[in-house]
């Protein structure tokens, strides 16, 4: 076939763009685009002619989970449970907490063992065992220390949740620091409730406004009592 003929090229380019060209013909044409700059330019020109048609479409804002998944695919966020699963039950998260975190907690937080006050500690870490935060609780104060591994997010916050053992809804413990150390006070709502685990969700700046995790749950961790 001769591709010098501009009318023919136009027709092929349009079929390609509209999707009318299928199967082997489409593959052949894609190869031709790579090999022949004139073919390539014709397609680009027609794309410019036709794509403004899309301007008449209404804007449809995609679910915010799409942006989370894009970031996960680009490796910017740890792969995690979806927010749909989060909504189902707190129990689901417990399954995610691993024994590995317990071991690591003991090794990494040995200095805390010297503390005279009984303590609860947890290590919040990625699935490949990189610790992001060290959490310890004494009385009603939570000390949270960010490690250098935390992905710095300027437009988002990481929110810490307590998962009650009785399966009730998660209780927010506050926002986690992205660097350095921070003290959080244990909320009244969580006082006296047995803790099954901690969880961290990825939230808009300032944290969830719904009172429940609204973004994906990135981490869960069990608590060890010393």
């Amino acid at each position: 076939m001769k591709y010098q003929d501009q009318d023919l090229l136009d027709a092929l380019a349009v079929d390609f763009i509209l999707g009318a060209m299928k199967g082997a013909a489409r593959k052949r044409f894609q190869r031709l685009m790579m090999a022949n700059p004139e073919v390539r330019r014709t397609v680009w020109r027609w794309e410019q002619h036709l794509n403004p048609l899309a301007e008449s479409l209404p804007v449809t804002v995609p679910n915010s989970a799409v942006w989370q998944r894009i970031q996960q695919r680009l490796g910017w966020l740890a792969p995690v449970a979806t927010s749909a699963a989060v909504a189902k039950s707190g129990r689901y998260w417990l399954a995610l907490a691993t024994a590995a975190s317990l071991l690591l907690a003991v090794v990494m937080l040995r200095p805390l063992l010297l503390s005279p006050v009984p303590q609860h500690i947890a290590v919040i870490q990625t699935s490949d065992a990189k610790a992001w935060w060290l959490v310890s609780k004494a009385e009603r104060v939570l000390t949270v220390k960010a490690t250098g591994a935390v992905n710095q997010e300027q437009l988002n916050d990481y929110e810490l949740w307590m998962l009650p053992e009785n399966g009730a809804a998660p209780i927010s413990l506050g926002l986690l620091p992205q660097q350095g150390e921070q003290l959080l006070s244990w909320p009244d709502a969580a006082q006296g409730i047995a803790i099954a685990a901690l969880a961290v969700s990825f939230e808009p700046r300032g944290g969830s406004v719904t009172g429940a995790p609204s973004g994906p749950v990135l981490f869960t961790a069990e608590i060890v009592t010393l």
Partner: protein, 184 residues
């Protein structure tokens, strides 16, 4: 609009340098339109979301390959999305049962973003509209069905009740006329 093409270009250049924040801004400014493009072709929310994800992952990786000859930034991004959606349409064998042309599939459309405001296509669109107005109704409708809904020539015949040869020639003649007008 001149400025918004500049703005998109600015974000895309920064994206090509690995700037995540610029990429997020690009996403925020353009994803509503690209999702609409994807949704119209696929008519299923979950598939349209898959395509949108693929498209942005591709945009992130290929940002440095963009150049002006490929059209405006928005046009380039629309093409990436459309081709991905067409691939999916083919592989999942979406057939006419998903199609209801009168239903605009825009239940969730938001008027927070004014169509065309942020998006860098306004001027081209005005020109295209003018040229589309110059086409006969059949020519215009066939082109729109093929472009927005990814309908094959055969599917367009089912929709318009015309013969296959007629539809083919409508599209071909319509586009020839369109090109003359656009490139005049």
């Amino acid at each position: 609009m001149e400025q918004s093409q500049q703005q998109l270009l600015h974000w895309l250049y920064a994206t090509a340098q690995g700037n995540k924040q610029a990429f997020e801004q690009l996403y925020q400014a353009t994803s509503g339109k690209l999702f609409s493009v994807s949704l119209h072709l696929l008519r299923r929310n979950d598939w349209a979301e898959d395509v949108l994800q693929d498209a942005y992952v591709r945009i992130w990786h290929n940002a440095a390959d963009y150049h002006a000859e490929k059209g405006s930034v928005m046009s380039w991004m629309i093409s990436i999305t459309r081709y991905r959606a067409l691939d999916l349409l083919k592989s999942r064998r979406v057939k006419a049962e998903h199609l209801d042309i009168s239903d605009a599939a825009n239940d969730q459309s938001s008027d927070e973003v004014q169509p065309g405001e942020v998006i860098g296509l306004v001027r081209e669109r005005v020109k295209l509209d003018d040229c589309m107005q110059g086409l006969s109704e059949e020519h215009r409708q066939s082109i729109q069905l093929a472009y927005f809904n990814g309908l094959s020539h055969q599917e367009i015949t089912e929709h318009t009740g015309s013969a296959l040869g007629t539809v083919k020639s409508w599209i071909r003649r319509g586009l020839t006329q369109l090109k003359r007008c656009l490139e005049a």
